[in-house]
Amino acid sequence: MDLPSYFDDFLAAISLKSHHRAALITGHATLRSRLRDDDDLRPLIVSDFLQGSYRRSTALGPKGERRADVDVVLVTRLARDEYTPQQAIELFVPFLERHYKDKYRFQNRSIGIELSYVDLDLVITSAPSECEEKMLLSESVRTDNTIEEARDWRLVPSWIDLEERARRADASTLLRKAAQEESWRAEPLWIPDREVATWERTHPLAQIAWTSEKNGQCNGHYVRVVRSLKWWWREQHSEAKYPKGYPLEHLIGQSCPDDCTSVAQGVTRTLEDMAWRYQTDVLLHQVPILPDHGVPEHDVLHRLSADDFAYFHGQVCAAAQLAREALDAKKEESARLWRQLFGDAFPYDEEDEDHGDGEGGDTKAVLGGFTPRTQPSRITGGRFA
């Protein structure tokens, strides 16, 4: 069975909680406003926006006591031919020393900032072409709203976010316009790769746009399917390291059907599609090539070894079978099987067996509408004052 309310409760349990969200919002808002207010950096900055699984609503709640994390993109005016990646990054050292002393470290492609309540990942890009600046400063790009919060998001000039809508009288006009406008054709951005000492292309906006559109086609279930399957892989197969993060999300995206009517259906059909689609690659002991959105020269799965992929595929096949059984079963059995697939975060209520399919309707009508006593009544109440 689909069990939509069970999946609602499962997703509530595995997703970011409200206190995580609050921490993330405080973290990234503070970072972004400090960057913009910094006298040294202000002339260098074009724009800043959110990327990553938080923005795309595909992030799981952090494991145990770990902190949630959010990714921030800072678009600068630094020309690629004037600054090497190392030089570009070093321009930020004074700022980091001032505000995040002893809390930051340089990673291969980003700056990681570890606060007490949240982790920030700051990615710096080089100068975009001038015609892109307008788009990069638009609300559509810079908004704090995630895809799940603002289901009507599009990369268009007239789009305004939820807070702005409450303030503006012409909100409905603008939104109607935003629904009709043609999307911007955004170009990839260049980010520093310290390992290879060059600027590499990346296209977070293309990923966000693709996810948003896919989610719309799936009636809002796509991002929930992604979170469910990420959870399955993280919790039930924690021994495996890869695939994880965006590559896993991308794999799911390629297989998730457009017309799913529930998370249960989406999960089952995605697993079945992945099982079928990559059979040949596994047989040939190779990893399929999946071009990234917006930067087709990047293979999303390039880090994966053939062994990793084969193991992953094997687990997917078993999971697909279990999911199909769960989808086809009746309520109590279905709940039990989904729980087997997803673990204890998926709700299962033992007492539900009494009220399984609600077939008692007819007998009750005969007795004038009151439940016949089949077991000793539980006498509750009875105290007065």
Partner: protein
């Protein structure tokens, strides 16, 4: 779930608890229930609401109740708190059925109508329910309510909500409970017989406000026909008479003294079970019973044209059980708008009754005008006492209670609340503040005679009681003496030997039943002495009480009695309210038992019978165990 992009909430809403999720999951997969939305928080009412549609399988496809939308409301502390089912504004039922609150469109801030379903267990609705107790587990309780809503729908579709043999329930007239009015009428079997014999269909009625009430609390007295002949006069106790005195003074201010009444042959309602909300609906409902509302009103309204708003009582006979024959008259009340008067007449008409009526019909009481319903209830002795009464053997007695100190005040109140209406209380003392620790009177009575203050209080407790207070010590003089002579039960609560002597020598009119109650030190014991005969057997009492008094002296002799505050020499009898009230209750039970046994003829007449019963608090190791009853004749051991 909803496809709309939600607006970010302006204030943080509470987290959806695991219990609410559990409750909702139990509804999943049920063939007759479809969950339309998840729990949504409504700050306007401080509750979570779940929108669902109910589709009882047993109903045929064309039935209007086949597929209806509902909101199930739960408290944040679910599974505790209320669980309620309301019809949705969109896709829900819009009429009112039996076992449902008046189904108005409801408040603007919420998407459900006001027609709450009455689905409770046996505590609220008597009759057909078995012992099907409402479960309290999170997974079961919500489902229980929704399944009962389904049962309700099935019963509604088959017109079984009102099954023969169920108690009859009048439909809810909208707005009444919140009107700030309480109109009490007193209709009983005997007044019903009087109504049956009368042909009057309308007229004027007196409404007496109860003095001191903060809202408009009025008693319905004296129905008259248009020629001012009395039709039916309900019986009330002293409070109505006191209200009479006060009412004359209120006459000029509140304008509530006179009202109108009309009588129908049945409850005016629109099918299936909806009270009329406008004058047009009332006209239609009356028409269904073969009445023309306007002809009835025209008899009444000429007497109400004084520029003030008046109350209109609308009466109809009701049965006790559905399907039974009518046995009581029931009244509902409407607060009429100001009727045409003075120069307010219809254009083209002189200021005459015809002109006034036409204006009333066209404007004041036009079809669209909403009716201002007021809360009206039957306050006859039987209805008011439905929660508990003493035996008729005692409530029908003419009682005199001598001594209304702490013990007497409680005994008197228990008797009156238990249904005694004819009571005389006698006490020569004034109420002092120090008495309040265990007396039933209040600070505002300090300085007043205990007897008259208590009588006033008791008359306000029971509108059918006629309690008289005599602020003089026993024995009494003149007409008070005659009043007391004619009683048939005397209760002494003075604890005073002199009074007992007076009771022994008092010239009673005939054989009397006597009770003497008194408390021991700290109200650990209550002595209940019963006797019947021509005079009070004082000597026999002394003989029986002596060993107990000796015992008390032995147990408490060395103890000091408290003083009434520093600077005061007089000792006071120590006893706390909880001790006094505990033993007073035991005493009342004993009195009832004696009176019931006596009236059953288990005592021989003529001879002076008497006996002592002792109640004692059982305290072991400092802990209160209970109250023990001892037969006093056993003496000390």
């Amino acid at each position: 779930m909803s496809a709309d992009t939600p607006n970010r909430p302006s204030q943080p809403q509470p987290e959806l608890s695991p219990e609410l999720r559990r409750g909702r999951r139990a509804l999943e997969g049920h063939r007759e229930i479809a969950l339309l939305d998840d729990w949504r928080w409504f700050p306007a009412v401080g509750r979570w609401a779940l929108r669902c549609s109910l589709t009882p399988l047993a109903l045929p496809a064309g039935s209007p109740l086949k597929n209806t939308a509902w909101f199930i409301l739960a408290d944040p502390v679910y599974p505790w708190g209320a669980v309620e089912c309301y019809p949705a504004k969109a896709g829900g039922i819009s009429e009112t059925y039996p076992h449902q609150r008046y189904n108005s469109p409801g408040a603007a801030e919420v998407p459900w109508r006001a027609g709450l379903l009455c689905l409770s267990t046996e505590r609220r609705i008597l009759g057909r329910e078995g012992l099907d107790a409402e479960p309290s587990a999170a997974g079961a309780r919500l489902l229980w309510h929704v399944e009962r809503a389904l049962a309700w729908l099935r019963a509604a579709a088959d017109e079984l909500l009102l099954a023969a043999g169920d108690p009859y329930e009048v439909p809810e007239f909208p707005g009444g409970a919140g009107s700030g009015w309480r109109i009490g009428f007193a209709e009983s079997a005997s007044t019903f017989a009087a109504w049956r014999h009368s042909t009057a269909r309308g007229g004027l009625v007196d409404l007496r406000p109860v003095p001191g009430a903060h809202a408009s609390v009025v008693l319905v007295t004296s129905f008259r026909d248009p020629r001012c002949q009395a039709v039916v006069t309900p019986a009330w106790g002293t409070v109505a008479a006191a209200a009479l005195a006060a009412g004359e003074a209120v006459n000029t201010a509140g304008g509530v003294v006179r009202g109108g009444w009309i009588r129908l042959d049945g409850c005016p309602l629109l099918p299936p079970w909806q009270a009329p909300a406008t004058w047009g609906e009332l006209r239609a409902a009356c028409h269904a019973h073969g009445h023309e509302l306007d002809s009835l009103l025209q008899e009444v309204v000429p007497g109400l044209r004084d520029g003030r708003r008046h109350v209109l009582l609308i009466g109809f006979p009701i049965p006790e059980l559905i399907g039974g024959s009518a046995c009581r008259m029931h009244w509902t009340a409407a607060h009429l708008p100001v009727l045409s008067h003075g120069a307010q007449t219809t254009k083209g008409f002189r200021p005459s009754e015809r002109g006034y009526w036409l204006r009333d019909r066209r404007e004041v009481l036009c079809d669209e005008a909403p009716i201002d319903w007021l809360a009206a209830e039957n306050w006859d002795t039987e209805s008011l006492a439905s929660r508990g009464r003493l035996s008729p053997a005692i409530t029908g007695r003419r009682i005199v209670l001598v001594g209304v100190g702490a013990l007497g005040s409680v005994v008197a109140e228990l008797l009156v609340r238990g249904g005694v209406t004819d009571l005389v209380v006698v006490d020569g003392e004034t109420l002092e503040a120090g008495n309040l620790v265990r007396h039933t009177l209040t600070l505002s009575d300090a300085g007043r005679g205990k007897a008259s203050a208590l009588a006033n209080r008791l008359n306000h407790i029971a509108p059918h009681a006629a309690v008289r207070g005599i602020d003089a010590p026993f024995p009494l003089q003149h007409e008070d003496e005659r009043l007391v002579q004619a009683r048939d039960l005397v209760i002494d609560c003075t604890g005073d030997d002199t009074v007992l002597e007076h009771l022994a020598t008092f010239p009673w009119a005939g054989p009397m039943r006597f009770v003497s109650l008194s408390l021991g030190y700290r109200a650990r014991r209550l002595w209940c002495f019963n006797a019947s005969g021509q005079r009070f057997p004082h000597a026999a009492f002394r003989v029986r009480i002596a060993p107990w008094l000796e015992r008390e002296r032995t147990e408490y002799g060395g103890l000091r009695f408290p003083r009434e505050g520093i600077g005061c020499w007089h000792p006071v009898f120590p006893a706390r309210a909880d001790d006094v009230w505990l033993l007073a209750s035991a005493g009342v039970k004993q009195i009832e038992e004696e009176v019931v046994e006596g009236s059953q003829g288990s005592r021989e007449g003529g001879l002076e019978q008497c006996g002592l019963v002792v109640f004692e608090q059982d305290i072991a190791g400092g802990a209160f165990i209970g109250v023990r009853r001892l037969a006093g004749d056993d003496g000390v051991q």
